[in-house]
């Protein structure tokens, strides 16, 4: 339990701090916005600087070819569109539980806008309990980030598979939406930081490329939707633009304090508009590029007049290269967000999350089912003393 006297003091201090930070933003934001316009057409110079800065340890966003301050209006309404969304949740193995197991529940939902028919829903369940599934060769239980990566890659695979099933649909090429990053976070971080063995990293990469390849062949568009993004890759690019020379020290300097890209684009973009396209400088992106799936992103204002709400949308380069696919995706995300206009977020992603979520009562029911099944086979089951104490204390 918390000592509320101490907590109250920290909460007051935190609120003061947040107020100070907020008041410090406007001049920084105005400066960043002026740089965005100043460098808007300097694409070749910035691309050249970025390539050089990468060697000095810089990380940010590289312009894809559209002016930095470009604003792309909302594409015209689509009378019919097929949107598919996927999300996953999991139960991690519990070393204090009866037996270790890993459950992955992926919720999939597809809707034909304009049909009047209810969306179709389904689940994909993964249930690991064998030693070779849960333990590494040296007998250690698989790390949480490894299991997280499995969840992420299976979400992508299931989404792509659902798109393949709907290729040639009368409602047109499918638009596939994933919650968050399009690729597993472990892959995006790059091999040295992924905290999974090199062989496993290569396996994840291969599976991601296969999924993206099959999504591309459907003629549709696939995207990762990041709500309330916290990145500052574009601001880092602007910071690069003012440097007179590229040195390790200078590229490490970040002049925008706590400012984030989303605040910058909230100033620039009107509701429905998307930003220019950028390529993140993740180490994996070059490898993806070689396979024809370099990742790009854009910002999209899904808010309303006076209440901007920014999302970051990640797409493979082949979506960007086909304007029809890109516009279809842009419009579909906007329409999805309008359904929940008070809290703009794609409706189908909300529902996919709802389908995927494993409620605490369901976790208890599953645990009970496992215990009963083991007891019926004469296997004595017990949980650890620590888990028992938690049960007594109500979690």
């Amino acid at each position: 339990m918390l000592d509320w006297r101490q907590v109250r003091r920290y909460v007051q201090e935190m609120a003061d701090y947040a107020g100070d930070r907020l008041r410090a933003h406007p001049p920084t934001l105005r400066y960043a916005l002026s740089l965005l316009h100043r460098f808007s057409e300097d694409l070749e110079r910035l691309q050249q600087m970025a390539r050089e800065a990468l060697r000095a340890g810089w990380r940010g966003a590289i312009p894809w070819g559209e002016p930095l301050a470009a604003r792309f209006p909302l594409p015209s309404e689509q009378p019919q569109v097929l949107v598919i969304a996927a999300d996953g949740s999991q139960i991690y193995p519990d070393r204090h539980g009866t037996v270790p197991y890993f459950v992955l529940n992926i919720g999939l939902i597809e809707m034909r806008s304009g049909s009047g028919a209810p969306p179709q829903t389904r689940h994909h369940l993964v249930f690991w309990y064998r030693e070779e599934e849960l333990f590494t060769e040296d007998g250690e239980m698989r790390a949480l980030n490894d299991l997280e990566a499995e969840r992420d890659i299976q979400e992508l695979e299931q989404l792509a598979a659902a798109m393949v099933q709907r290729a040639g649909d009368p409602f047109g090429p499918p638009v596939g939406l994933a919650d968050g990053l399009l690729l597993p976070w472990a892959l995006a971080r790059g091999e040295p930081f992924a905290a999974v063995p090199a062989e496993r990293y290569r396996e994840l990469f291969r599976r991601a490329v296969e999924a993206l390849e099959s999504a591309r062949e459907t003629g549709g568009a696939i995207a990762g939707y990041v709500d309330r993004p916290t990145g500052h890759a574009v601001l880092r690019l602007l910071a690069l633009g003012v440097l007179d020379e590229i040195t390790r020290e200078k590229v490490a300097d970040y002049p925008f304090g706590q400012l984030r890209d989303r605040a910058l684009f909230a100033e620039l973009l009107a509701p429905g508009e998307r930003s220019a396209l950028f390529a993140p400088t993740w180490p994996i992106n070059d490898h993806l590029g070689q396979e024809g799936h370099r990742l790009l992103f854009f910002y999209l204002n899904v808010g309303t007049e006076g209440r901007p709400h920014l999302a970051r949308v990640e797409i493979p380069e082949w979506v960007a290269q086909d304007r029809a696919r890109l516009d279809r995706l842009h419009r579909a995300i906007w329409d999805q967000c309008r359904i929940l206009a008070e809290a703009p977020y794609p409706y189908l992603l909300t529902r996919a999350h709802e389908l995927a979520r494993i409620r605490s009562e369901e976790r208890r029911q599953l645990e009970q089912m496992i215990q009963e099944a083991l007891l019926r086979r004469g296997l004595r089951v017990s949980i650890s003393a620590k888990a028992r104490q938690k049960e007594w204390l109500g979690g």
């Binding site: 919720g107 809707m111 034909r112 806008s113 049909s115 009047g116 028919a117 209810p118 969306p119 829903t121 689940h123 309008r338 359904i339 929940l340 206009a341 008070e342 809290a343 409706y347 909300t350 529902r351 709802e354 389908l355 979520r357 409620r359 369901e362």
Partner: protein, 209 residues
């Protein structure tokens, strides 16, 4: 999300509805998550238990509780048809069902009126299969509780009688309705206007094929 429950088919056995979340001598409430299609109708017979006693009741109240997602969709002037259908057909929404206890079964004997103890909290609640409804409504004594209940309206009374009549065919249905009509005349002898209204409401059961 919850495991999809078996959709109730009256010709099969009892289907699980939910669990008791509030209980008193005369009524109890059932909490569950159901798609709109699976919500049982007013006047449906349900059963639960207290130890060895099977408690029989009828549904007199249904509260569909919209959640945050429902409320946000409702803020739209005209929510798209697909979304409305999703809310109705796919989403398990929280539902509270009010049940009026009509009687109970113990040691294979049927008793009308309130049981010695109300159902225990979290006790599962199931639908009653037709054979059980038929047995329970063989005697018209179940009507008294419905007529006297403060919680229900005559619409529920008529719905219960229609439900019980619907599981009987041909002359047996006619016999049942005559028996029920005689009981109503006896119970509502001092309320001729109300009697007339109730009889009009159940007439369609007699006229149904």
């Amino acid at each position: 999300m919850a495991t999809p429950r078996a959709r109730w088919n009256p010709s099969t056995g009892p289907a699980f509805i939910g669990r008791v979340i509030e209980s008193s001598a005369r009524t109890f409430r059932v909490g569950c998550r159901l798609t709109a299609e699976d919500i049982p109708a007013f006047g449906s017979f349900v059963q639960t238990a207290r130890g060895e006693t099977t408690i029989i009741g009828v549904i007199y109240d249904l509260v569909l509780q919209g959640d945050e997602l429902t409320r946000m969709v409702a803020l739209q002037d005209v929510p798209p048809q697909e979304i409305q259908q999703d809310m109705i057909e796919n989403r398990n929404i929280p539902v509270q069902i009010g049940v009026l206890t009509l009687g109970y079964i113990r040691d294979r004997f049927t008793y009308y009126g309130i049981p010695h103890q109300p159902p225990a909290l979290l006790e599962p609640v199931y639908t009653c299969p037709p054979a059980q409804i038929q047995r329970f409504t063989e005697q018209p004594d179940f009507i008294r509780t419905l007529v006297e209940a403060r919680e229900t309206s005559d619409d529920v009374l008529a719905a219960v009688i229609r439900t019980a009549a619907a599981i009987r065919a041909g002359p047996r249905r006619q016999d049942f309705l005559i028996q029920v009509g005689q009981e109503l005349v006896r119970l509502l002898a001092d309320e001729p206007t109300r009697l007339g209204q109730v009889l009009r409401r159940i007439r369609m059961a007699a006229e149904a094929p």
